[in-house]
């Protein structure tokens, strides 16, 4: 650990305001997501614990506010704060799992395309090109309307959208890595292709992916929110932050703004934190920017 504290990475981290703010926001969300159920009295999905008499209570600092619900309640009498904590779990879960899935699939396809080239490369990269020519939200919308809604379907849609960026990045780095003599040397030494890919190419193409993966969690949270807002995302029984915004949107112009504004602020802070930290990582891990 002293090694880490003395490292250049940590040195630069301490001097970067955006890195500290970003990681603090991410840490706050990590804590909220893990400890959420213990922080709030109400389980917003336990219908029995809800009381319709509590519906549309404003935040505590407005007239009519109830100290029990400091960010107010929605139409079912759900505590907005509790909903945000539970919703952030679903949003982050979807963001992280979809990122891992896209990263794995995209990296694998990129390695294969870059290493073997030829027809395999053409097929994979043309699919990627076609995919990139549509807005990602549109592809996700198509897929969701085809396969239906649900958390698993959202994950499929996000992965289908997200793998391309990894495949392209990895293919590019692979092409430049396999030109290097150590890969030739590994071939000359008689190493089979799968070992060359795993031991020599993969470790050398990973660095740029860390940055992409970080920022992509934020992007996925946003896409998921958009899908849910459009009504094709997660089911109403498992509202993510995006679905909370949608639910509140119906009454936004009746002056009951808090039910959608606060989840919106939560999404903004989450994605903002991730992007700040991602920017810092990009600067740190890119040797050309040093």
């Amino acid at each position: 650990m002293t090694g880490f504290l003395a490292s250049e990475f940590f040195h630069n981290y301490r001097r970067s305001a955006s890195a500290i703010i970003g990681s603090a926001l991410m840490a706050a969300f990590a804590f909220a997501v893990l400890a959420g159920p213990f922080l709030v009295a109400q389980d917003p999905y336990d219908i029995a614990s809800l009381n319709l008499m509590d519906s549309y209570k404003p935040p505590v600092w407005l007239p009519g506010g109830d100290p029990q619900f400091w960010l107010g309640t929605d139409g079912q009498g759900r505590d907005v704060w509790a909903s945000i904590l539970y919703g952030a779990r679903i949003s982050l879960f979807i963001g992280l799992v979809a990122m891992v899935a896209s990263c794995t699939i995209g990296t694998l396809l990129g390695l294969i395309a870059g290493f073997y080239g030829g027809i395999v490369d053409s097929v994979i990269m043309r699919i990627a090109d076609i995919q990139l020519s549509f807005p990602s939200i549109l592809i996700a919308l198509f897929l969701m309307s085809a396969v239906g809604t649900g958390v698993d379907k959202v994950l499929i849609a996000l992965t289908a959208v997200g793998w391309v960026v990894y495949a392209r990045t990895v293919r590019g780095s692979t092409l430049s890595e396999i030109e290097k003599e150590y890969v030739q040397a590994a071939k000359v030494a008689g190493l089979p292709n799968h070992k060359i890919i795993r031991k020599h190419v993969l470790p050398n193409v990973l660095t740029p992916l860390i940055v992409i993966a970080t920022i992509q969690v934020g992007t996925f949270v946003l896409i998921e929110a958009s899908l849910s807002f459009l009504g094709v995302g997660v089911p109403i029984t498992q509202p993510s932050l995006g679905l909370l915004i949608k639910n509140g949107f119906d009454v936004l112009f009746s002056g009951l703004w808090w039910t959608s504004v606060f989840p919106g602020v939560a999404i903004m802070m989450l994605v903002f934190g991730i992007n700040l930290f991602g920017d810092f990582l990009r600067d740190e891990l890119n040797p050309r920017l040093k």
Binding site: G117, G118, K180, E181, Y182, Q184, A185, A186, K187, V188, A189, G190, L191, P192, K199, H200, P203, N204
Partner: protein, 328 residues
């Protein structure tokens, strides 16, 4: 022992089929290397030298293809061998030393791990024996505190030291043939001769043979028993090193020798071969060298010269070969 050569290349033709035409990078090259011999393969950039090396190892990728010829290792034809058979040959029977020690080691693995990889692949030794073999090999290429250095990463070594490591890796599985592709080109002049001496000593000690691919006649003249000179994918001259360096019969070889800086008899200016290598995609009729050749005559534009015996041990492909003592 029979007098069968370790490696015999017969009429090797490796062509690259590109959109802008077929590149005959290697076109009818033949040579033999006996046990323990060092052969220099010399020529300008783009002369097909490296392609010969990669052809021997079966590492010609599309759009390249070995169109014809035989590569006989102990009488076994590698051109007809399957990928699995070739993989057993690579690293085990034939290994390779590359030009640039800065990129021929993986920056993310320790030197020890990269050495170990070769032994794991090609021997049945256990971990301890492999470690011992690595230490011994590193020491024999002149790296002190070898046991410690095994844990070091390539960036912790200087260029010369890395090339020693690369040589150590190439020798590790005790191959019988080493293909060295410009092994000293990327090194400082002061390090070059150290590395060359080291390679020669190691090869002599292990009884291996070597193909030394280089554009630098000075380097091969120190190292090689035989020299084969390539021009536009064809052998233009070959013979024993001393004969070829002292009295080449092909004007191209003469030109290469004259363009070596000579600090002892410094005459006025360094001579050079005029012009550049012709476009290898559509070579003209006749001799490929004629546009750059001071001795070219009408015949050279019509008939392509074939390899014929000349004085001493030399053979060359020239209609008007140089006699010993004759200037170009």
């Amino acid at each position: 022992m029979t007098d069968q050569p370790l490696l015999a290349v017969r009429d090797l033709r490796t062509h690259f089929h590109t959109f802008s035409g077929t590149v005959k990078a290697v076109d009818g090259v033949s040579f033999e290397i006996g046990q323990g011999e060092v052969m220099g393969l010399v020529g300008e950039s783009g002369g097909g030298k490296s392609v010969v090396g990669f052809s021997i190892l079966g590492l010609i990728d599309s759009p390249g293809k070995i169109e014809a010829g035989e590569i006989l290792l102990d009488g076994k034809n590698l051109v007809a061998a399957s990928e699995a058979e070739l993989r057993k040959v690579r690293g085990r029977e034939i290994s390779m030393v590359f030009q640039d020690p800065m990129t021929s080691l993986n920056p993310l693995h320790s030197v020890g791990r990269q050495m170990d990889e070769v032994l794991r692949l090609h021997t049945d030794l256990d971990a301890k024996a492999r470690q011992a073999a690595c230490v011994e090999m590193l020491e024999s290429v002149g790296i002190s505190r070898a046991a410690e250095r095994l844990k070091a990463y390539p960036h912790q070594f200087s260029g010369g030291m890395r090339q020693r490591v690369v040589i150590a890796i190439a020798l590790l599985a005790r191959p019988r043939l080493i293909i060295a592709d410009e092994p000293t080109t990327a090194l400082d002049v002061t390090i070059q001769s150290q590395i060359l001496k080291l390679m020669r000593a190691q090869i002599a000690e292990k009884g291996a043979s070597m193909i030394l691919i280089t554009h630098d006649l000075a380097v091969v003249s120190e190292m090689a028993d035989h020299i084969t000179v390539l021009y536009c994918g064809k052998v233009v001259e070959r013979g024993r090193t001393r004969d070829l360096i002292n009295a080449p019969s092909h004007p191209y070889t003469r030109g290469l020798i004259d363009s070596i800086p000579d600090t002892v008899n410094r005459h006025d200016r360094l001579s050079q071969i005029p012009g550049t290598v012709p476009d290898i995609r559509n070579l003209p009729k006749g001799c490929n060298f004629r546009d750059r050749c001071p001795r070219a005559q009408a015949l050279c534009a019509e008939v392509e010269p074939q390899l014929e015996p000349q004085h001493g041990t030399l053979s060359s492909a020239c209609h008007f070969p140089l006699k010993p003592g004759e200037a170009a």
